[in-house]
């Protein structure tokens, strides 16, 4: 079964500092990869996605993520964090391939980002 791991439950950074949120997945097939953000009381908003091609993808709000097949990782980065970035971030994966007709979107447990002034 596919699984998605976000090793950091909480992360605190200072405003203006850089950010990296980790995401690892565990299966050998070619994945589709996503990052979502959830602000308090809100639904999930798609930040960026990777399907194929360039392994460094740009998203909204100044976020980017890099797919590294050798490390089974898809870490989210931002060069300079703003106070409004405080939220919960979820990595998600879709297993593709002929034997995976469902193409289910599976989420990690999330990382809560807090931003210090």
């Amino acid at each position: 079964a596919q699984s998605v791991t976000q090793p950091d439950i909480h992360i605190t950074v200072s405003e203006g500092a850089s950010l990296e949120l980790r995401c690892n997945y565990s299966y050998g097939a070619t994945p589709y990869l996503f990052w979502y953000v959830q602000s308090p009381g809100q639904g999930l908003q798609l930040l960026l996605k990777y399907f194929s091609g360039d392994t460094l993808v740009q998203g909204i709000k100044g976020f980017e993520a890099e797919f590294k097949r050798s490390q089974s990782s898809f870490n989210l980065r931002k060069p300079s964090v703003h106070w409004s970035d405080a939220a919960e971030y979820f990595c998600a994966v879709v297993l593709t391939g002929r034997n995976n007709a469902g193409n289910m979107l599976t989420f990690g447990g999330g990382t809560r980002l807090m931003v210090k002034p």
Binding site: Q42, G43, L44, F90, T96, M104, L105
Partner: protein, 113 residues
């Protein structure tokens, strides 16, 4: 473009009562998902529809949960009877097709007392 609409936003019921949630996906989206998000956890897929057919419902507690998408558009999720552990946010999402980017509604927060 209108997003995914869900109602109600909030619901409080007593245990053993029944409850229903409604979802209207983005127009033209063939795939519809229902997720359960317990406080402090990531969303867990309950059921996935492709048009009006069920693609996966392996994590749906079928003794008490049911869902339907009769005309391949709107969907309802029902819990009967509810248990305390069903307290969660129920998220509906839709995508153009399987494996494509999913767009989420704001969710229904259910509290079972």
């Amino acid at each position: 473009e209108a997003g995914v609409a869900q109602s109600p936003r909030y619901k409080i019921i007593e245990k053993r009562q029944s409850v229903a949630f409604w979802c209207n996906p983005i127009s033209g989206h063939a795939t519809l998902y229902w997720y359960q998000q317990i406080l402090g956890q990531g969303p867990k897929l309950l059921i996935q529809f492709q048009n009006n057919g069920v693609v996966d419902d392996s994590q749906l507690p079928k003794d008490r949960f049911s869902a339907e998408r009769l005309k391949g558009v709107d969907s309802t999720l029902k819990i009967q009877p509810a248990k305390l552990e069903d307290s969660a946010v129920y998220l509906c999402a839709s995508s153009l097709d399987r494996g494509q980017s999913a767009f989420f509604g704001q969710g229904t927060r259910l509290t079972v007392v």
